[in-house]
Symmetry: C2
Subunit: 333 residues, 2 copies
DNA sequence: CTGAAAGCGCTTACAG
DNA sequence: CTGAAAGCGCTTACAG
């Protein structure tokens, strides 16, 4: 024999228990005064019948959706999927913990149509976006429409809430290790200087020199390296200068450098030691494997979510800053 | 001067236009009789004021959410991220086209808690899951709770709606090419035989032999290869047998085989030609690059979405079967 | 501490 | 062709 009545709604619960919907609602939400005994009776009944409030109805009454938008750039992951994967997992777990769901949307370049639907149809309470979308009008649009959001990765605009890795500290630690391991100068290949992440890693590099009382050699710092030819030019100078150590600011640049060093038949780590300020699957799997910094992307995602929930007025636990670890591999042996 | 009144709700529209909410609703939905002129007047007003109906309210009234669940296995993408990426993009675009949003959830092993929330709180109308989750209780749970779903990849259970690649046809085409290119026998390394995908690719392999009037040599067909040692055992037999061509059923197995061949110092394609029945980034980037079949994952995702929308009673366009292409690379030169 | 009632912003029989 | 009214399943002043 099945339970004769399905308990699907608040009303069902109230009727069966002979109380009002108001009371049941209060028992569940914990808001408002309610007798301890009544409350326990209601909760036990709910538990027994596995009743769950309808999120849509709740949303309508409270003008909330309990959905968070996760906006991904269209070509995320071309380079570094594990970052997005881990980040998403972190966001997801934290959102789940607070009973929020994730709605995801892909932002393709300047196209805001999809995002607009999410915002105008009021299908989310807030959004998490990535720095990669900084150049699109997404942030502007969200701000105009009073949609709370947090950016993963530091943005150039102040005023926006961001969570980020400790790029400066990590850059400093890696540089310090390289300086200590290798007697001579340590060259640097960096990316687009207009990015905050680039600036921070550069600062870390410089700071490590300062703390060890060494003078960074300007001639071996190459910024805005974005092509194979740019990397090649730098690598040639490095080899000519007899520099024995090279740090690249991310995995893409490392990959370029690796190609250049191979073409020049420079042994790694024999002739040049190579390290990357950003880890990825390729760093681990290339031969030789590349020493690099692994950031805690899961935590980063989790923090982004906590921040957003906080902005939405939820009582959330404290954020724990996302850490990192330097992974020493063959390329710096 | 701003518009003095914000047009946020159906009621606002109705009031401003001096009609009833019913009429406005009908103009928007297109359901029910409505005068052409009235309708146009309403639509123009809506357009001008950029009004969008509140999806939550609409959902409550219609007992729909216009959300589709996208359930991902926890460790998707360890092997083959681009598949998920493309698939998701396909699902996403199609969902958007029909004004649905995607809610995503990660299923971790046997843990159904998160999924349960999505189902019980009625936050989605249907779900798209992947074959990778076949062994969890997800399908069972969805069925019990009458939640429509479609599986990407063929499931062993009938009764469920699936969309899949043309694994048999593609396997046949690749095998045929290999047979024609190489005079002798073509070995096969396959995965878990209990998977339908494995069975289909095997069928294709056999069918190619049949059509060319060749006898597949049982001694060079190795199934259930899941470890390096299993692959090594197969590779040794292949080399001893003087076989000059090898097809692996997917990119993971290809990677294993590649490692084994390297260890045995067998030249590719010099000594053995290697091809994979599944393309991935690694197939493209390994050296030598590996000939493989590239499936149209975007289309596959799109089809999954179309199928689900159809099940939900939406009028959708016809599915176009997801195609594939054989990409000839260095490994079979 | 508890409940009746209004309200969230839509849809949809039902009546005209 | 159009509208008044009930209803979707919750929450929340307000009153008791």
């Amino acid at each position: 024999m099945e339970e004769p009545k399905k308990i699907d709604t608040l009303e069902d619960v109230a009727r069966e228990l002979g109380v009002s919907k108001t009371t049941v609602s209060r028992a569940i939400s914990g808001k408002g005064r309610i007798g301890k005994e009544t409350r326990e009776r209601i909760m036990a009944f709910i538990e027994a019948h596995d009743y769950r409030p309808n999120a849509v109805a709740k949303g309508l009454a409270q003008k909330k959706t309990y959905n968070l938008g996760l906006l991904l750039p269209v070509d995320y992951g071309d380079v570094d999927f594990s970052f997005f994967k881990d980040c998403m997992a972190g966001v997801y777990r934290t959102a789940s913990l607070y009973h929020y769901d994730l709605i995801f949307s892909i932002v393709e370049g300047e196209e805001l149509k999809q995002l607009r639907r999410l915002v105008q149809n009021r299908k989310m309470d807030g959004a998490i976006i990535s720095r990669a979308m900084e150049r699109s009008r997404v942030q502007e649009y969200l701000t105009e429409n009073k949609m709370p959001f947090v950016v993963i990765g530091t943005s150039r605009e102040s005023q926006v809430e961001t969570v980020d890795n400790k790029n400066r500290e990590a850059g400093e630690e890696l540089t310090q290790i390289m300086l200590l391991k290798c007697g001579g100068p340590v060259a640097l290949l960096g990316g687009d200087e207009s990015y905050v992440v680039t600036q921070n890693r550069l600062e870390g590099y410089l700071e490590a020199h300062r703390k060890l009382g060494r003078q960074p050699e300007k001639d071996f710092i190459f910024m805005n390296v974005s092509s194979y030819s740019a990397a090649m030019e730098a690598v040639e100078k490095i080899l000519e200068g007899g520099v024995r150590a090279l740090i690249c600011m991310d995995d893409v640049i490392s990959d370029l450098a690796l190609g250049c060093l191979r073409e020049k038949e420079a042994a790694i780590p024999g002739t040049v030691r190579l390290a990357s300020m950003y880890d990825s699957h390729q760093m681990e799997c290339s031969s030789p494997s590349i020493t690099s910094i692994r950031f805690d992307s899961v935590r980063l995602g989790s923090n982004a979510c906590l921040r957003l929930l906080h902005m939405l007025g939820e009582q959330v636990e404290q954020e724990t800053p996302a850490g990192y670890e330097v992974i020493l591999r063959e390329s710096t042996k």
